[in-house]
């Protein structure tokens, strides 16, 4: 049977500095840079750089080490327009499958000096750090045992059909505060009233991971997920409010853990659940051999700026 760390290794699969594959792996990537900013904001795999219909708004420099792609526009309006134009052009040419999932919603480029935005479906093409919110809603059995509210995704939803998920989760669009995003998602996904979420949801930190799609060969997806807990009474019942979720069920922590190692969870929420199990004293140094490593891996120091200098 897999361990939790085995599952984490599949999700947080960008190599760590000091591992055997690190130098070779990173050496094959391109850095994504913004005008007037010495810091990289993402890594782009070579197949994306080769396929993208770059125009003169970008400089493609394969003589630098590491190789880099630089957005040359330095004003807010021009830079945002350049990104949008490029992605629309790539979408029109049907070059990247990910752009089929166009959202008309944008992520902010975390750490950029300007308020720069990228269409969500295209964020992975630039390898920027994305932002999400995840909330675990739980109650307690009469003898005090924690029971988690777990949604099962609909079999007809496009991404991760039939998989288990965080009680509430979503990407944070540019210009929206994470907590406000959470309040909205809780109502839309789990029929939780804004009043209840505002009263009971508690910020408990964030989970950071560095995922690479297609077992390390695909798009690079570093992420920060702001994490919230909400304990509710046993009378409050979570209900699907849109077609994405089929049903909500109450599960013990043991059932959650079994479903994680069985691969029944959507990968994107696994780190959030492991963090929950650790913070609530369900996993301990005495019962989980990889305890300290799981704590470090769920809170990865990402190599890109999280806020402007």
């Amino acid at each position: 049977m897999k361990s939790l760390l085995d599952v984490v290794n599949e999700i947080d699969n960008f190599p760590y500095h000091g591992s055997k594959s690190y130098d070779q792996y990173v050496g094959r990537l391109w850095e994504f840079h913004l005008a007037n900013d010495s810091r990289a904001h993402g890594y782009i795999p070579d197949f994306v750089v080769q396929a993208m219909p770059w125009n003169s708004d970008f400089r493609i420099d394969d003589s630098s080490d590491p190789r880099r792609v630089t957005l040359l526009k330095s004003s807010l309006t021009d830079a945002n327009q350049a990104i949008a134009d490029l992605l629309l052009s790539a979408r029109g040419d049907k070059i990247f499958k990910c752009l089929n999932g166009w959202r008309n919603e944008e992520y902010r480029i975390l750490g950029a000096k300007l308020d720069l935005k990228i269409e969500r479906a295209g964020a992975g093409l630039f390898g920027i750090t994305t932002t999400g919110v995840h909330m675990t809603v739980y109650t307690r059995s009469p003898d005090g045992e924690i029971l988690l509210w777990v949604p099962k995704r609909s079999m007809t939803t496009k991404k991760n059909p039939g998989k288990l998920d965080s009680s509430v989760a979503g990407g944070v669009p540019a210009g929206v505060e994470p907590f406000e995003c959470l309040v909205k998602e809780a109502a839309e996904e789990a029929s939780l009233s804004p009043e209840l979420t505002r009263l009971r949801a508690k910020a408990t930190g964030c989970v950071m991971e560095y995922h690479v799609e297609d077992a390390g060969e695909g798009l690079l997806e570093p992420s920060v997920k702001f994490v919230y807990d909400m304990e509710i009474d046993r009378e409050t019942v979570l209900q699907p409010a849109d077609a994405e979720v089929e049903e909500f069920r109450l599960m013990t922590a043991t059932e959650v853990q079994e479903n994680i190692v069985a691969g029944n969870y959507k990968p994107m929420c696994v780190m959030v659940l492991i963090d929950f199990l650790i913070r609530h004293g369900i996993l301990t140094i005495e019962n989980e051999k990889d305890y300290s490593e799981l704590v470090a891996r769920t809170h990865r120091f990402l190599p890109f700026p999280l806020r402007p200098e």
Copy 2:
């Protein structure tokens, strides 16, 4: 005024890979190795390698890159004896100030294949990862506000006199389970009964940091601190049980934060308190600009094994 991140930068001051000083800094260090184990277990600064009275139990190899010190003894008894003999000899010669604080208590070398031990006062000379337990004991005001029990160390104690500290804290000696160590320390330091600690203390994760003494020029001290919370009623009062603590006071989270940035806390417990303030929703992404970085920095991925292969 300092930010929390400024304080964290002083404590977690081993450079990160990718920072300007990393390669040069690490290039000046020696790796500490054990027999039949390809993984390094610590970094040793050059001044220690030059001053230590090495004997034939150790190989000093300055032609390898990085340079390394290897303990050659491969049996459990011989290896432990070799470490003990070396440190006793260095202590006799009064070479290192840290050995004046000889404890007659040992740390386990985390991640070693054998059950190897190093006298606590000498752990920093090999740069191994040390293990501790920290508990924050808190109660709530009538309106629900968190109040933390904060000890002030005695002015006559040798280390960090007069500084504020974790409610309960201590190093975990080799052969002792972290939770059992916590139960003992809670009784010895804060007069908390073993029954109460066993009932109410809750494991919530661990804090990992990489400190280098003397602002980066001294001994290397990576550490794992297992973290516990204990909420108690307002009638239970913490009392000093030994001469190390002068008094316990109840403080609001704001007072704790002010004392951290004012430098009134013992540096070793600052990360534990920041982790507490984040887990309890007192610091949030909306009120703390360095939120995500503080989460990553308090849970550092250390470059040494935390458990045997």
